[in-house]
């Protein structure tokens, strides 16, 4: 049956090329659009996912990880004194204005870390010494943001909201969802760079004591007045969910991906249906001779699956090429194994759905019709 399916499909090479192109474009659109979405979502929860904190505490009612409400020292001590908290440290995430070498400005997201803190640190350090960020006025930035910040070397000096900043280290691949470059520094410098009041910050990172369930601890911390507390995974999901659902970003990417699937459906459906119509007499002859519907339907579904397989390989190649091209524009197309598996299943389902009209045609085919000229 595979042989028959393959030969029927490849008999008209032009039609097969069109079908393969349709599936390929569909696969590429799905992979690139969802890959871009995943890349953005990865950025949205980048800091949370790389932190080792069991629980994140922030000001009550904060919806967005990047724009969280400030909290004060009293809140920190209340958190630290809750039974089950082994260790707590403050963190500030706020926006600042980075003065460029040419006199212009660039908005940045300042990440202020507590001296001696261990629950969140810059990772993928490619130059400099991360320990130095706890020196006053020391910052670390990401090399992929070099074009925006117009700097690329350790030792360069700039100002953030008029306050001196010296680059003491470089990371690679730590990017924000807001597209404002992260600037890593210590807590006091961060307050200065973000025009934040003294003794204010917006996150307390908590390490649970051994044997303490982070979920239980988060629920207890959440009872504290004026504070919200979430486990690391919950915090991460909230950060992604906000940008995905509240801004329409998710809908935008998924709509384009859905359009890709529709394009594939229509193209493959049209090609398979035409092919079925062309071979209706032959299929009718086989039915007349006693071939079961199932045997003939397998030939049609196999054609759909062959189209899916070829389109998946070609579309996957196109998506890899697109990813490489987009990397140059600092766009992260995250092609995970799960995404590839889901896309492969989706493509197979899409092609099988596209064969539905052909299947119905064959099921309704009256074997006596072979005698009608």
């Amino acid at each position: 049956m595979w042989t028959l399916a393959r030969k029927i499909l490849l008999h008209d090479r032009i039609k097969f090329t069109v079908a393969a192109a349709g599936v390929s474009i569909s696969v590429m659109l799905v992979l690139v659009q969802i890959g871009l979405y995943l890349g953005f979502m990865q950025n949205a929860s980048n800091l949370i996912d790389h932190a080792t904190a069991d629980v994140w505490v922030t000001g009550e009612g904060s919806e967005n990880f990047d724009f969280s409400a400030p909290i004060d020292e009293r809140a920190f001590y209340r958190v630290a004194s809750v039974p089950g908290v082994a260790h707590a440290e403050r963190m500030l995430l706020a926006f600042g204005q980075f003065r460029l070498a040419d006199g212009g400005t660039q908005g940045v997201q300042v990440v202020g870390l507590e001296p001696g803190g261990r629950l969140l640190r810059p990772w993928n350090v490619v130059a400099g010494d991360p320990a130095r960020i706890h020196q006053a006025g020391a910052i670390m930035v990401d090399v992929t943001e070099a074009a925006k910040l117009k700097l690329d070397r350790v030792g360069e000096r700039r100002e953030i909201f008029g306050v001196r900043a010296e680059v003491v280290g470089l990371t690679r691949g730590i990017r924000s969802f807001t597209t404002s470059p992260f600037v890593w520094t210590d807590l006091d410098s961060a307050r200065a760079y973000a025009l934040y009041p003294a003794e204010r910050f917006n996150y307390v990172l908590v390490e649970a004591a051994p044997g303490v369930d982070p979920g239980d601890l988060a629920r207890r911390l959440d009872q504290l007045p004026g504070l919200d507390a979430y486990t690391g995974p919950t915090m991460s999901a909230r950060a992604r969910h906000y940008w995905s659902s509240r801004t329409g970003v998710g809908a935008g990417f998924f709509t384009t991906a859905a359009l890709g699937v529709i394009v594939g459906l229509v193209v493959v459906g049209q090609i398979l249906y035409n092919g079925t119509l062309e071979h209706l007499k032959e299929y009718g002859t086989l039915k007349a001779m006693g071939a079961r519907d199932g045997a003939i339907l397998r030939v049609i579904v196999y054609q759909a699956l062959i189209s899916a397989a070829v389109g998946l390989v070609l579309g996957g190649g196109l998506a890899l090429a697109a990813r490489a091209a987009m990397a140059g524009a600092n766009l992260n197309v995250l092609l995970t194994r799960d995404l590839v598996i889901v896309t492969a299943i989706l493509t197979a389902v899409m092609c099988c759905l596209a064969s539905l009209l052909s299947v119905i045609k064959v099921l309704r085919l009256d074997p006596a019709s072979v005698f009608k000229g």
Partner: protein
């Protein structure tokens, strides 16, 4: 001939298409038996009911009334899903237009029919080669229909019809698209299938020249089998 047992027969078969003012009586009270080892021609003008007759005989269509028997079994009352296995084991079909897959070689066209008739068939390819050799196409097995003459295509179709070893071959004007010499060659092959292999061959035709290969001719007019004549070959000789 009358002492023999028919392999298939129609008893009082009628077929009505449509209803009311658009009703058409395509076949009315047709009685016809088909015997092993014979060639039975079905002759009649266009629209006379020949196609309906062989469609019902080949279990491709249900009669409105009357009974169809295959190997002595009344099959008229069987469920639709029970018919394909009976067709697969009983009938082979050949057509004016050959109905071969253009993408497949002669061998593949025959083998796929064998596999579709019986998914458990072992070594369908070898069986296809044997059948193609039997119809004189041993040197054309790997040719696609587009590379074969009309007569060769019809021989492939005959080999395909023989897949699964059916006792009855039904042909719908199988020689209409062929030149005289080729048509006679195809009929000679069908004659062998009947005389040597003992199969029943039923052929719908408009061509009276084919009567020389036939044992009997059934004449159909206005939906009725008006006559079934036995051909006296000794007189023709």
């Amino acid at each position: 001939m009358t002492e023999r047992t028919p392999i298939a027969s129609l008893a009082g078969v009628s077929k009505i298409y449509g209803a009311g003012e658009t009703q058409v009586n395509a076949l009315e009270g047709a009685d016809l038996s088909v015997y092993p080892g014979e060639i039975l021609l079905i002759e009649g003008p266009s629209g006379s009911g020949k196609t309906t007759l062989i469609s019902i005989l080949g279990l491709l269509m249900r009669p409105t009334s009357g009974d169809v028997f295959v190997r002595g079994q009344r099959v008229t009352g069987l469920a639709q899903r029970e018919l394909p296995p009976i067709r697969a084991g009983t009938f082979g079909f050949i057509f004016q237009g050959f109905n071969l897959f253009p993408a497949l070689t002669a061998e593949e066209n025959v083998a796929i029919a064998i596999k579709m008739k019986d998914p458990r068939a072992r070594d369908a390819d070898a069986e296809a080669r044997r059948l193609l050799t039997a119809v004189g196409l041993d040197n054309r097995m790997h040719h696609k229909p587009g590379d074969l003459s009309g007569g060769q295509k019809q021989r492939v179709a005959i080999a395909r019809a023989l897949g699964g070893d059916p006792p009855i071959i039904i042909g719908d004007e199988p020689t209409a698209a062929l030149d005289t010499r080729t048509a006679l060659g195809v009929m000679a092959l069908l004659r062998e299938l009947a005389s040597i292999q003992g199969r029943a061959v039923v052929v719908v035709t408009h061509d009276p020249r084919l009567e020389r290969f036939a044992d009997r001719v059934a004449r159909v007019e206005d939906g009725r089998v008006t006559a079934v004549d036995t051909i006296d070959h000794s007189r023709a000789a």
